[in-house]
Symmetry: C2
Subunit: 149 residues, 2 copies
DNA sequence: CGATATTATCTCGCTCGGCGAGAGAATAGC
DNA sequence: GCTATTCTCTCGCCGAGCGAGATAATATCG
């Protein structure tokens, strides 16, 4: 077992960073009386909002790996907390479009904004070739995780 | 709101990579009849093992943010599955040292080894200056997440 | 156009992870 | 030695998520 492969240091750093990012999300969740799944749901919804895509209950559940019962309970929680609205689909009235409330968006930006600012600030310390390496590495990691196992 | 800051692409990639890594861990959990917390616990235990540090039940629970009741239940699950042994503390017999079973270590290596291999393989595509940038960025992200909020 | 299959969500009953409170057992301090 | 502290465990409970199936709206086909 070659435990002193210097490349493993980077793997360690990668995992440490993801762990710390996860803890940061958990702090956001706990501070707002939410559960990790609720935070993940809000992220999905905000991403979709930025891309001006509608997210139905079913799509949301699929994105989070929940079944329909769990998805209903999730949207119930978010709606009860005022983070989200249920809107019946215009063309297909079986569908329920889940819309994030403006306040929830601001809440998320207020919490994650500083972290995002620090990360973008980090990037200013590198030249374009280094930044390209960072982007390429992250994309490679994403693909490796998606394709492995 | 400057939504087209090019540095945000890297933030997006970072999040996409962490999401995908999380899903990969979740696959390991599900495939072995475990829960996300159990996987996190095994990672803590394996890290400690590599550093030849003893992990008591209390330390494990603290690392995962569980209270004592949840920690007991967690160790019960892991012990029942054969991934872990309870060993009474030698000097302080109130303590319970949690030791990972060799089989669990091998199980983890078999699952995460390929991914680690792919990530280290990625690094070979960069020169030392680029690799240093990647390491620096990851360390910076870890610190930013740990210190923010 | 009406009967049937399909799709999207919701309801019900349940399992089980995690919490709070407090008990039990061992150690440390005076 | 007696008391306070520390570490783990037990008990009862809450709530997230699942499986099965109900309900309602749409699509399909004769």
């Amino acid at each position: 077992m070659p435990t002193d492969d210097p490349r493993l240091e980077t793997v360690h750093l990668l995992r440490a960073a993801t762990v710390e990012l996860g803890l940061h999300s958990a702090r956001f969740a706990q501070r707002n009386g939410m559960h990790p799944t609720d935070v993940r749901a809000l992220i999905v919804l905000m991403d979709a909002r930025r891309a001006t895509e509608e997210v139905t209950a079913g799509r949301l559940g699929a994105a989070l790996g929940l079944n329909s019962a769990g998805t209903t309970a999730l949207v119930d929680r978010l709606e009860r907390a005022g983070h989200v609205r249920r809107v019946r689909g215009a063309t297909d009235r079986r569908k329920v479009v889940v819309e994030v409330d403006e306040r929830a968006v601001e809440l998320g930006q207020a919490f994650f904004g500083p972290l995002i600012g620090r990360v973008t600030g980090l990037l200013d310390g590198y030249d374009e070739r280094e930044r390209a390496a960072i982007r390429g590495f992250l994309e490679g990691v994403r693909r490796a995780a998606a394709e492995a196992g």
